[in-house]
Symmetry: C2
Subunit: 377 residues, 2 copies
């Protein structure tokens, strides 16, 4: 029995093959990341939306709290084009929410990038299209991670380029990629990524699909893990719907070297989730999540609420990611300030009915004991 010590724990320098998912948007506080790493797992900072200087500060804050390894996650995004008309239409749909929250009406086009990350650029040379690029921001984010000598970098929404992978290898950085179907897993291995996180359809938050449509990358761990395990050499991490020792043991038998858990950490006191978001998760007893693009333009799984219900009919007319994400940002932020979960993005995996409100160390001990009981030699 190779549990808990295996290639994954050796590569990452951790005690237990349990990774805290890099949930972006303020969930992964330094307290959460450090608590997971201090308990023998791998904490992850979800830095995809963070400005370079904020990442640097968060890394320092984590290092004040732990001397164990942790990961930082970045979004690998392609530059994307969007029709100006879609942005204007989306702002029209969002106007009633802004009014209810006393938010100013934004400049129709600039709202797509303003107050989001300073590196987004807009070009309005052609009056019918706008061009938004996130590339510059990503490169600056990578630069901070190299300067800070981060040990482990994980990637979502794509693959770093060859020269980047080479740089990471030279510096001894361990890399993790996210795959939602077989082809993506094979590609990540071929490009030289060290570990593949396999995101099942169970996972909360954004779908990591980068080849084909997200709707066609919705496979469950029960088959995705063994099919990929038969085809890959590098360690596989199972992500999605794993909520306790039962899921950890199941993932192990399916062929995963470890697990990545996100939703299960959201209701800990260490997580940065809004108190009403935590309560909504704890109140759930059914498998009531939905897949929606209304918050960000990219398919994501979360709890159903008023915002999802009201905008879902217009879903296919909304701008793509990250533009729609920028458009709804002021609304989500104000909704959180006003304690209105009905207008917040309440990302959650299909296992959210199993959420528990306990500190990280206690939860991890419980899960690992339960898994060890299942897997004892």
């Amino acid at each position: 029995m190779s549990w808990p010590n295996n290639r994954l724990t050796q590569l990452l320098g951790i005690d237990y093959p349990l990774i805290q998912a890099p949930m972006a948007g303020g969930m992964t506080t330094p307290e959460l990341v450090a608590a997971v790493s201090n308990a023998g797992g791998l904490g992850s900072l979800g830095a995809g939306y963070m400005k370079p200087e904020a990442i640097r500060q968060a890394i320092a804050a984590i290092r004040q709290r732990t001397d164990r390894p942790f990961a930082v996650n970045l979004f690998v995004s392609e530059p994307m084009k969007e029709e100006a008309q879609r942005v204007i239409s989306a702002n029209r749909l969002l106007a009633p929410y802004r009014e209810a929250l006393n938010l100013p009406e934004p400049e129709p086009l600039l709202s797509a990038v303003a107050d989001y990350t300073e590196e987004l650029t807009v070009s309005l040379e052609d009056s019918s299209e706008m061009w938004v690029s996130t590339g510059a921001n990503y490169n600056e984010q990578v630069a901070v991670l190299l300067e800070e000598a981060v040990d482990i970098i994980s990637f979502t929404f794509g693959v770093p380029c060859d020269t980047e992978v080479e740089t990471f290898k030279k510096r001894g950085i361990t890399t993790m990629g996210t795959a939602t179907h077989v082809l993506e897993g094979i590609l990540l291995e071929e490009i030289g990524i060290d570990i593949v996180v396999v995101q099942g359809m169970e996972a909360g938050g954004h779908r990591g699909t980068f080849i084909g449509s997200a709707e066609q990358g919705l496979w469950s761990l029960m088959t995705l893990i063994p099919v990929l395990a038969d085809q890959l050499q590098i360690p596989i991490v199972a992500a999605g719907g794993i909520m306790d020792g039962r899921g950890i043991a199941a993932a192990h038998h399916l062929g995963a070297a470890g697990v990545q858990m996100g939703t299960a950490f959201l209701t800990t006191p260490e997580s940065g989730a809004h108190p009403l978001y935590k309560q909504a998760l704890l109140d759930t007893t059914e498998m009531s999540t939905v897949l929606t693009k209304v918050f960000s333009g990219k398919l994501a799984r979360g709890l159903q609420n008023r915002f999802v219900a009201e905008l879902s009919a217009a879903e296919e007319q909304l701008p793509g990611y990250p533009i729609q994400n920028a458009l709804t940002r002021d609304i989500r932020r104000a909704a959180a300030e006003h304690d209105m979960p009905e207008l917040m993005s309440l990302w959650a995996g299909t296992g959210c009915a199993l959420c528990q409100a306990k500190p990280v160390a206690e939860l991890m001990r419980q899960w690992l004991d339960q898994a060890a009981q299942c897997l004892k030699p």
Copy 2:
């Protein structure tokens, strides 16, 4: 460690908690059912589409081949109404396929029931609607099972009524129901069903959802099993995407008392699947299944082919189940006779990339050895 002996094996009188799924439409030959039971599992006759006399003959044929327990599966269907115009439109869409297969053009409305099961009834009193009932056939099917003193009956698409459940209990018959979400599982237990088969979104063939829409009953086993295990007292059987000992071990740890496997048995020499259907399954390496209603009017998972691709745009305009199933029956049958898999329904679960062409006894030994290795105390 309660594996392999537990409440499920005791209830069913079998050696290993492994059930062969009752795949309807000629897949579950007496040879397949008996081979599974003889190997220590539970074979199941998929009798949902069978006329009462055909069921009686199949039971006799199974009993000639085994003296071990086996199950017979029936469809619990609600009577359903359908607009005549939808049937006429669907027949228009199907005309090119019939022409290519040299099939006669059917009487527009009667084609919905003709040559399907003799018990379907049509009423054309109101010229705009037709009424199709399958109730009579179901009652006659049940009568045969009682006359033949079948030990185990499993149900799909619904719940037997109170008086039926009482009859089964008096006769010492063990009953199994199919649930696709939490509420259905709770209902099955409350009505007195002995065992719940939990059908994950991974499963091939028709979705068993009977409360709410099938699209809203697509949950994966990774979370559906533990969530239900926390709420039910009766044994849970995990069904969907389980293809070998890895899946068996995983299902066990998630909280299932056993597994039901369908697709994994289709490529055995004992199964009744068409040779080109078997070959299509064996050729699959990706997770290339789709969910479609085009063959039957009810959501089902199978391999993508020409018929699915060409009719999917009209999917929501087609008649409901079982009418669309009756309409396409001559086409599917002729396609099989002419070796044209592109027009056949090629039901398959998401794990079909792991199919193996081996005899039942050899496969089951391999799976059970692998599971035992995982689960050894």
